[in-house]
């Protein structure tokens, strides 16, 4: 039983390369990641940050595994909520698998024990992934800052 994990899956009509670019390119990120973007040079062991539109660091960590355009694993810690930061690192795994003419994108966000980030991201990921699908299929993500809560 794993209450400290969330698994999100979406099927997107695109190519693995475009999906990979959307996940790792800051300009692409801004169009679907609720205006935030990631900063990293995308190599194993490199530092990784998720930056809010106003420049604050939302989350930070390290690239644990990277295999373009198939698999990305990030060591991930919240930076802006002190009580969540206290719980330490989580792990976020992205996998891209072609399924016919669709790409299956799975995001698994998990912690080794009870962790306050996991329920926190459970509101964000569905919106981010729905926005990513909309961006890749229609050319438009959802233009708005994250809803509160």
């Amino acid at each position: 039983m794993s209450e400290n994990s969330f698994v999100y899956v979406t099927y997107i009509r695109t190519t693995p390369e475009k999906l990979w670019q959307a996940l790792t390119d800051p300009e692409f990120n801004r169009q679907f990641f609720l205006c935030s973007y990631q900063e990293s040079d995308w190599r194993v062991g490199s530092s990784w940050k998720l930056i809010f539109p106003d420049g604050r660091v939302a989350d930070s960590g390290e690239i644990l595994e990277i295999d373009p355009p198939k698999r990305l694993v990030i060591k991930w810690r919240n930076e802006w909520l002190p009580e969540v930061k206290e719980d330490g690192y989580t792990r976020c795994t992205f996998t891209i698998e072609p399924d016919g003419e669709l790409m299956k994108l799975a995001v698994v966000h998990e912690a080794d024990g009870p962790h306050r980030l996991i329920p926190n991201v459970s509101k964000g990921w569905p919106l981010v992934l729905a926005s990513l699908k909309s961006l890749l299929e229609t050319g438009k993500g959802f233009e708005r800052p994250p809803s509160k809560g």
Binding site: M1, S2, E3, S5, F6, V7, Y8, V9, T10, Y11, L102, A106, V108, S122, W125, P126, L127, L129, A130, S131, K133, S134, F142, E143, R144, S147, K148, G149
Partner: protein, 106 residues
């Protein structure tokens, strides 16, 4: 992965109950899910298959266990289809108000 499949899957009260159970406790095995339902294992398996086709439930193998996860992404896609960026803030305010009022003791 059509929206039809999502609506069809959500139209059944038992399947909504399965989603509620996963919402309360994510990552349950088939055995755990069966515990709370007055149904045969075969019936639960059938309902889970329909939820999986609609991408509302996704599974992950961990060792010998198969865990079931609620996948809310398709529900978000449905919401986004009819909710524009301006309505969202108003709807959030209304939903907060409703929750606050309904929590209050009479």
């Amino acid at each position: 992965m059509s929206m039809d499949a999502v609506f069809r899957a959500l139209a059944d009260p038992t399947r909504r109950q399965l989603l509620d159970s996963l919402h309360a406790r994510n990552g349950q095995t088939l055995n755990a899910l069966c515990e709370h339902l007055d149904m045969t294992r075969q019936a639960v398996t059938k309902h889970l298959a329909i939820l999986e086709v609609a991408n509302l439930v996704t599974t992950m193998r961990r060792g010998r266990e198969k865990e079931h996860y609620l996948n809310p992404v398709p529900i978000n896609e449905i919401a986004e289809r009819w909710i524009g960026k301006f309505e969202r803030h108003r709807l959030n305010a209304l939903s907060d108000l409703k929750q606050r009022l309904e929590r209050e003791e009479p």
